[in-house]
Assembly symmetry: C2
Homo-oligomer: 465 residues x 2
């Protein structure tokens, strides 16, 4: 086993630090925006590390046991992907002490914390790039980047002409990871934060560092600092290359998210095709990596789940029902559990509405139940996956998770019509006369002639056991 033992038992919560909670007004930017205004690319709302620590009871009540923090290092942007210092907490988020305090409360409550690692590029305010800007071809750091010609101009209009940059953005010069000094620097960063207590890294756009040896070294570095560290890559497409002994434990399973969204929002994806797509994702990777996948329904880089579902609460609940029944580590993007809305960045990075939780209890409770059941039932976390039923005409799908004697039947009606369905449950070893019930409701069913007859509400689903 080379993936960390704990990931398949984890439920992640992704936090965009500027927008989750403001725990220390003293570190706010002077031009901090009021909490809850329409998010922009440029402004801060004042969220910080103390805010997360102070709201830890909320996270524990929700039930999550792992956190993925969007970048927290010193940066020039509210999203902090424009890193200027990889060894320092952004002052608007707090201090190293605040980070240690957060880790402390997390670890004392058996919650793990992984960080966002942006190693393909830096901000143009990063010291080595600054040195090139100052000294041009005389800089000792020229070879840290991919410079095409001097003098380089980092602040003009248009795409970067003189050096490689992420998507051509002058503000994000790409590292030359072939340079051993640069490599050492980045690996030192990777080790440093693990040594400080972080439980792993989410790697930003790792496919843009197209160098298997770099990632093998990266993995060695992190795992030698802590063998239980989790490495998860931001890979948007199904791609076997990025998992395994020389790469990552898991990937951000965006294709899984896309399949669910297409399944629940378009008329063109037949149930069997949906099943094929998600099962292909299970078959593409070694099993241990499948169980170490990070399963998002939304992130800082996507529309909000609620909006994506056309503000249809039933569909949102159904999406979570599927997500929490799948192998891997389900991940909740902060606020998706209470139905926060918004289009793509920056809209999807709104301030968490602490003063408006009472009107959002239905979804909130639903997610709490799913998390609680997933934590109670090892079969949902560690069980095998098996397809049970697909009906393209009626849009009904069923799968099972099975572990030893334990089985859960997951049934989904992806249509606006109530469906009455009989599933063959022989594979679940459920004998005739066995009484099972919907874990998410009160219905009881009896197995008869190797089959189970259930009624599925519109855009509804069951977890039966």
């Amino acid at each position: 086993m080379t993936t960390p033992y704990w990931v398949q038992d984890s439920i992640f919560y992704q936090i965009f630090p500027d927008r989750f909670a403001n725990g220390d007004k003293a570190n706010d930017p002077v031009n901090v925006q009021p909490w809850g205004v329409k998010p922009t690319h440029l402004h801060y709302m004042g969220g910080d590390l103390q805010g997360i620590t102070q709201k830890f009871n909320y996270l524990l009540d929700l039930g999550i046991n792992a956190i993925y923090l969007n970048p927290i290092f010193h940066s020039t942007a509210n999203h902090r992907y424009h890193t200027i210092d990889y060894f320092r907490i952004d002052p608007f988020l707090g201090s190293m002490n605040d980070f240690k305090a957060l880790l402390n409360v997390a670890h004392n409550n058996n919650v793990r914390v992984i960080l966002d690692g942006v190693f393909n590029h830096c901000g143009r305010g990063f010291f080595a790039f600054i040195n090139v800007l100052e000294n041009q071809e005389h800089s000792p750091y020229c070879d840290w980047f991919h410079i095409k010609n001097f003098p380089i101009n980092a602040y003009g209009k248009g795409e970067a002409q003189d050096y490689l940059a992420w998507w051509g953005f002058r503000s994000l010069p790409k590292f030359n990871t072939d340079n051993q000094q640069t490599r050492k620097y980045l690996l030192d960063v990777a080790r440093f934060w693990i040594d400080q207590g972080a439980d792993g890294w989410r790697l930003d756009v790792p496919n843009e560092i197209d160098d298997d040896k770099f990632w093998a070294e990266f993995r060695d570095t992190v795992k030698s600092a802590n063998p239980d560290s989790y490495l998860v890559g931001e890979i948007w497409t199904p791609d076997r290359r990025w998992v395994g002994e020389t790469h990552f434990d898991g990937l951000m399973n965006y294709p899984f998210r896309e399949a669910i969204i297409e399944f629940l929002t378009s008329d063109v994806l037949p149930v069997s095709e949906f099943a094929n797509r998600i099962e292909n994702l299970l078959n593409l990777y070694p099993k241990e990596n499948v169980y170490a996948m990070y399963l998002p329904l939304g992130t800082h880089d996507t529309e909000r789940l609620f909006s994506k579902m056309g503000n249809n609460l039933e569909k949102v609940k159904l999406a979570f029902l599927i997500q929490f029944a799948f192998p891997g580590a389900p991940a909740v993007y902060y606020g998706d559990e209470i139905g926060m809305q918004g289009g793509k960045d920056p809209e999807s990075r709104g301030a968490f509405p602490w003063d408006d939780l009472e009107s959002r209890t239905e979804l909130h409770n639903w997610v709490k139940v799913l998390i609680s059941l997933r934590k109670q039932l090892p079969v949902l976390r560690r069980g095998n996956y098996q397809r049970i039923f697909t009906d393209d005409r009626r849009h009904v799908f069923a799968l099972a998770r099975m572990l030893g004697d334990s089985s859960v039947l997951v049934a989904i009606n992806a249509s606006s019509t109530r469906r009455h369905v009989r599933f063959n449950v022989l594979d679940l070893n459920w004998g005739d006369g066995r009484i099972v019930r919907n874990l998410l409701g009160k219905e009881e069913y009896i197995v008869s002639e190797g089959r189970l007859a259930v009624s599925l509400p519109p855009w509804g689903g069951l977890w039966v056991a």
Copy 2:
């Protein structure tokens, strides 16, 4: 007494870190220049903190007991006045551990270390300025600087148009120290390094922060961290404003240097005028500040003493003789004790010629004797100053230092002709028949009729006691 007790007993050695000694080749820039090539504005020679630590025996043999280090914080330039991180040692100089090791060996040998504080401006790679460059008028840091209009352009040609900068250099944006956040940041820096063990600050261009309250706060901050810290301002002109309870303990006494150089290299400065000038400097300031002045004959900002003296060894020795007889803390710019040559910056910042010390022993030994005597004789450090004799026609000057029963007569011949002179020594309480001798040679003299007859070689001097 508000100036630190130790300064008047100190002999400073000023080190330009890139050029003193390379102790760790592993931290050299990739394009490091060979040690000893002609210095340029752009290149590094690899000197570092470990180098100073490794050469500490040389410093102890020379006899100095205080070090003024040119800037050591993370910067984009070999002189490190373009600060990009005030809380970090420049990686080409080493690490915080290297700094602590240097402080350790220094303090264990009763050598104090003061740092160069550049608080008027930063490098344009400093995080707050970078943030303004990135976010322009939306940046939370706009008020850290003096921005005239947006967008600001930091990298074009010509003087800074959009913001105040030191001498108009775009690369050196001036801080707005009226902003309380900026002020707090700079004061935090000041305290941090004192807390790390530094023994004081040399303040770079402090007159450009034309704000007495700022400097009062600065002093309070530093002195509350360590009441024995030394504060010395880079003030080039005689100016009472900058010393005292709300400013600095001493100033870099450039006017003293200029007087000595003019006295020994031009024919137009009569001895009496020279005496007036240096005595005015003694009278301008409170006595405790006079004794806490930093007395340089050369620095990183001037021509080398040896070159300034027309490569005349006797004049160089005479200059040191005067310097070490004066109230205040004599300071040796690294290499001046072995006659390093060079015009203004960058020439005066050459690499210390460790492989060429044997040919330079005469001056080296001379300086060692002066230092040793100054350390042996409290009268030279703490004694009162008194003019004894001026002869404009023959260019002879004599002063005395007197402390209790102890006196030293300092006689100087600033001409190319041997002079026979009789000094009235009644003020020294030297009675007739008393035998005194030249501390710097072997001559003995007998006091007769209240006078002392001495012979002064061309461009030569005596310390008689």
